[in-house]
């Protein structure tokens, strides 16, 4: 049985990309609105450039992990990691990809090949319900702070309309979550991401 009352977001990326801040913003929005939230992270050696996976579940569940077909949206902070997460994508899943590659050392040193980003997007498109893509770094630069591409991705997630929060509610949550001096760039980044996916 599909639990229609739960939105499950699976964020995949590389250590240091700021998935934790995104889950904190959603956490604070959840408190304000009374939406149950569970966030589970695997970040054992994240700071050393390893893979980071975050599962965020909003709604009526107590399980930090989800069944593959229950994942509402996969947010790839990095294209190769989005591709690697293909196993969690079914025909019901929506995918949002940041198209800025971060090349693992195995590509430069061990002769592995980094997959072509356009092919990655095409392949993800064959598997999923809908694929959105954007360059987080371009939008972040436009927002005036290269480090806000994580919140750009949150904006793109919010723009799809699948979150149980309005744009204003998330705007408020960003303001109470990020450091004061970074609020302006984060809000701008959020809006730029939002505009990519909003209908």
């Amino acid at each position: 049985m599909k639990n229609e009352n739960v939105v499950t977001i699976h964020i995949v990326g590389v250590g240091g990309q700021g998935a934790l801040t995104v889950s904190k913003i959603l956490g604070n929005a959840s408190i304000e609105k009374g939406v149950p939230i569970i966030v589970s992270e695997v970040h054992g050696m994240a700071q050393r450039g390893g893979v980071v996976q975050t599962t965020i579940r909003l709604g009526d569940t107590i399980s930090p992990l989800a069944f593959a077909s229950d994942i509402t949206v996969v947010v790839g902070f990095e294209p190769l990691e989005a591709y690697r997460a293909k196993g969690t994508i079914t025909s019901d899943t929506m995918v949002i990809v940041n198209t800025d590659p971060i090349s693992p050392v195995s590509v430069s040193s061990a002769g592995h090949k980094y997959p072509d980003v356009d092919e990655v997007l095409a392949e993800l498109g064959r598997w999923s319900r809908k694929v959105y893509h954007l360059s987080g770094s371009e939008k972040a630069a436009e927002a005036g702070n290269s480090r806000v591409s994580n919140v750009v991705m949150l904006g793109a997630l919010a723009g799809t309309g699948i979150l149980p929060f309005s744009k204003e509610e998330l705007d408020r949550s960003i303001r109470i979550t990020v450091p004061e001096k970074a609020v302006k760039a984060n809000i701008k980044g959020f809006e730029l991401g939002y505009d990519v996916t909003v209908q």
Binding site: I31, E41, I62, S63, P64, L65, E81, G87, T90, S106
Partner: protein, 670 residues
């Protein structure tokens, strides 16, 4: 922000990580002494306490190892203060010598040990099941399944600790520690930190021979009394799942429920999700206090059932109790535990495993072709480039091991590795380590290899690990005339776990002055015959010096000095300085990839033109790679604007560089 939630007055509902909730619970319990040795997945408990230090009245120590951490917490408790100690699964092995005796002696002030297991060994050397510590040491133990329960159980642990004068264990797993959610916290009521009088409260905390036997008798009586509690506490509870929702207590009269599930920890959450996926009814016994085990409660639960599923990760801890209870209460019951469907003692459980097991048990089909899906996933994994963790840009270890490999050359060696960032040498694409067991094991293993193998033994050990458990192994090697060369990676901090200070640092936790222990002086005093000090970043110069140490017969040491990059550049940035990146002069690059092969810096890759490329966003200007290039093609970007070819600049230098760089860029554009 989460930290505000940890120190706010409360009561309130806050969004925090379980590790923060655990720290909050200890603080609400008026803990006065907190000790720890860093280890994943418990580090956020440590960092939360560290941040609290300036706000609340308590003492915190980063102990030299977990054994000392537990003993320190126990000492404070003997005097009458409440204390708290946290450590990772394998840390308890180190502390266990004290742990087993503390059970006998008992304590006075509430004393709680949080131990965090790591099924799947995300960041540990084994999947050790810490639940057996509670059982074999006769200590009460809790096993929470959510951040809220972790919070509640730590608070309850203090009540039990003082009521029975016993150390209490709270056991978590990685999936609990790193889970965030909404937690209802209580009111922060703290009393001032004031030293107490030992003399007025003198009690005997000894155990040997007759006193040990007396202690054991007291211990068994405590466990008997606590078993009554375990059979009645609401932390062990019966629930009914009606196919969609959980209800407390037994199913309503007239409702037939065939399946029973006994579970604890995070597998409880997976069980509920699995039942909901299949719309299956079940009676559930959720065990929160796992030692002493609620045997009577389990017997009563088993009586009306035809089959019971036991859902737990790692060893069959609950299952052994359940099978033994079934012999009395319901011998014909079918117990579905380890070996049933996908259930095994290997790794973590997950939702698909639960759905599959419940589907097999109930005959309700899986909601999707999961096997087919899994096959696709496995096929996919084999074709994608891997992303193993590796040394950071600017890491001193990269320089140390590059020089060491050159110094060793083709001579066959046994490389005895230890625990720290350098443990990653075992991973591809390095794949360079012959043995690595646990903290400090490199020296003991080296001694045995010395006895058995003809080859030279080289040991690698970090500064923090050397203090933690390395010293006895060094003493042993020197006394027994072993022949080995140790490389001490002196990077100033416990790097892997988040750059905490350690005994060779001039600061203790919270920025307080401490006495820095001189590693070279220590090794000299122990009798290390040959010691060379090198700067980790000077690869070429170091090769010769390292060779001298390697050629020495007896115990020699190479102390490689270079601060952890994460620590170093964080401090630099805070001081207002910025690193100046290096770049590849494309006209000079002949693309032999010496800066890439075996060097593996995350800042360097192969450009579209086939030549090397340094990402200015990732490079921190350590300059190690420039020494790898035989053509002099790698230079500091400072040289583009007439600056020196050096590693980084201070605030003043940096401003000067930046102005020159801006000018230069304008000129290039024109």
């Amino acid at each position: 922000m989460a930290f505000k939630s940890v120190i706010e007055k409360g009561p309130s509902k806050v969004y925090i990580m379980a590790n923060e909730a655990i720290a909050r619970a200890a603080l609400e319990s008026d803990v006065k002494v907190y000790t720890t040795y860093p280890g994943s997945p418990t580090v956020e408990i440590l960092s939360t306490f560290e941040k609290v230090l300036g706000h609340l009245d308590l003492k915190m120590e980063l102990s030299v190892n977990e054994k000392v951490a537990l003993e320190t917490a126990a000492g404070a408790s003997m005097v009458g203060m409440r204390s708290f100690v946290s450590m990772k699964s394998v840390g308890v092995n180190v502390a266990s010598d004290a742990l087993y005796v503390l059970a006998y002696t008992g304590i006075r002030g509430g004393c709680v040990l949080l131990l965090a297991d790591d099924p799947h060994a995300h960041s540990s050397q084994s999947e050790q099941d810490g639940r057996w510590f509670g059982y074999t040491a006769y200590l009460p133990m809790f096993d929470p399944s959510s951040p809220q329960e972790a919070f509640d159980m730590v608070k309850e642990a203090y009540e039990i600790s003082e009521r029975w004068k016993t150390l209490v264990l709270v056991r978590t797993t990685t999936r609990i520690n790193h889970q965030s959610g909404v937690v209802e916290i209580g009111e922060m009521k703290r009393t001032p930190y004031e030293k107490l009088s030992w003399d007025e409260n003198r009690t005997s905390y000894n155990a040997v021979g007759g006193t040990a036997r007396e202690g054991k008798k007291r211990l068994l009586k405590k466990i008997e009394e606590m078993t009554v509690l375990s059979n009645s506490t609401p932390l062990n509870r019966i629930e009914y799942f009606d196919g969609g929702k959980v209800h407390p207590g037994e199913p309503p009269d007239g409702v037939e429920v065939e399946l029973g599930v006994i579970t604890a920890g995070v597998p409880y959450n997976y069980t509920i999700e699995g039942l909901r996926k299949l719309g299956l009814k079940a009676r559930i016994l959720k065990v929160g206090m796992i030692n002493p085990f609620p045997m009577d409660m389990v017997k009563e639960f088993l009586e009306p059932l035809k089959k019971v599923m036991v859902v737990e990760e790692l060893s069959p801890y609950l299952e052994n109790f359940v099978r033994s209870a079934a012999l009395d209460a319901n011998p014909s019951i079918e117990v579905m535990g380890k070996g049933f469907g996908p259930f095994s003692e290997y790794s973590e459980y997950n939702i698909p495993m639960l759905v599959e097991a419940l589907s097999t048990a109930s005959g309700i089909p899986m909601p999707m072709d999961y096997e087919g899906h899994k096959k696709k996933m496995e096929g996919l994994a084999s074709i994608l480039p891997i992303r193993p963790p590796g040394f950071c840009a600017g890491c001193p270890h990269r320089g140390t091991f590059t020089a060491l490999k050159r110094a060793i050359g083709k001579t066959p060696i046994f490389f005895s590795n230890d625990i720290g960032c350098y443990t990653m040498l075992v991973l591809p694409p390095h794949s360079w380590s012959d043995s690595q067991l646990c903290m400090g094991a490199s020296f003991g293993v080296a001694a045995g290899v010395n006895l058995a193998a003809r080859e030279k033994v080289v040991v690698a050990i970090g500064d923090s690990t050397l203090f933690h458990a390395g010293i006895p192994g060094i003493v042993n090697a020197i006394h027994n005339n072993h022949d080995l060369t140790m490389v001490v990676l002196h990077n100033s901090v416990t790097a892997m776990t988040g750059q905490q200070t350690h005994p060779a640092h001039e600061k203790t936790v919270g920025g307080v002055d401490g006495k820095a222990i001189d590693i070279e002086g220590l090794l000299r005093a122990l009798g290390v015959g040959k010691i060379v000090n090198v700067n980790s970043f000077q690869i070429r110069e170091n090769v010769k010096q390292m060779k001298e140490a390697l050629e020495y017969k007896g115990v020699s040491a190479i102390i490689s000095h270079g601060e952890c990059a994460l620590y170093h550049f964080r401090n630099l940035r805070r001081a207002g300085a910025r690193p100046v990146p290096y770049y590849v002069d494309k006209d000079m690059c002949k693309a032999p990839y010496n800066c890439i092969k075996d060097f593996l810096c995350p800042a360097i890759s192969i450009d579209v033109d086939g030549k090397s490329y340094i990402s200015p966003d990732v490079c921190v200007g350590c300059g190690e790679c420039a020494q790898m290039c035989g053509f002099g093609a790698i230079k500091s970007t400072a040289t583009l604007v007439g600056g020196e070819n050096k590693a980084y600049y201070t605030k003043e230098d940096y401003d000067e560089y930046l102005n020159a760089r801006n000018e230069h860029e304008k000129e290039v554009e024109e």
